[in-house]
Subunit: 132 residues, 2 copies
């Protein structure tokens, strides 16, 4: 099948597939006489595998290595576990950051609403200037 159908079956964009190929994540497929990429079931399976790993927001560098082992017949279990561990920690950190940020934004909103209620004409921006 050609890239469009492979893409829709793997739930990826054709542009993403071409990008993964150019980035060395997916192997270069066979070509038809006209130069069209030609994929088989295995190719689509590999795309799905990549999509699932990307859905976990693993970096492409990790996925490339995992796919390399996978396609060379070696089980990439340990790299997968390691990548998931790293990603898990990164996600925890980012959630903590965003939680702090959300509190900060909420507090700013409340203070600005308060000021607008009390002195409708006054400027509200100085609340930004308080924090160091």
């Amino acid at each position: 099948m050609r890239i469009g159908q492979a893409a829709s079956r793997a739930q990826l964009e054709p542009s993403a597939i071409r990008f993964y190929e150019s980035a060395g994540v997916l192997p270069a497929p066979a070509r038809t006489d006209a130069g069209y990429r030609h994929y088989d079931e295995t190719g689509v399976e590999l795309m799905r595998f990549v999509r699932r790993l990307r859905a976990l927001e693993l970096p492409l560098d990790d996925i490339r290595e995992i796919v390399r082992l996978w396609t060379s017949g070696e089980a990439p279990c340990q790299p997968v576990r390691d990548a998931i561990t790293r990603e898990s920690e990164a996600v925890d950190q980012r959630i903590a950051e965003l939680t702090r940020l959300r509190a900060e934004l909420r507090s700013l909103q409340q203070r600005m609403d308060l000021i607008v209620d009390q002195w409708p004409q006054s400027c509200v921006c100085h609340v930004i200037e308080e924090t160091p």
Copy 2:
């Protein structure tokens, strides 16, 4: 003062200041005879203002507009409130996404640990292949 001192007083990198200037966020400062950028207190204050808005992870496009009003004497209160509202919603959404992702990652980790405990030699990657 020159860019280095301004940067350390505003808690920004010199490269960031140059970038903000090139991006039209900070105004171009005066120059010494040798071509060095020369900043005064107002310049540093503006840098601090920008840093605080960036610490809220507001996009530079919003900050550029806010700074434009600010430096033209107009109070940018409403744009600031709007930008903070947008950012607040974006942060809420991202936290929700990451929370789902964290649950997914935790679940994968647990299932993989379980498999490794029970069948130490078996491949663990097929847990990735279950999800659609």
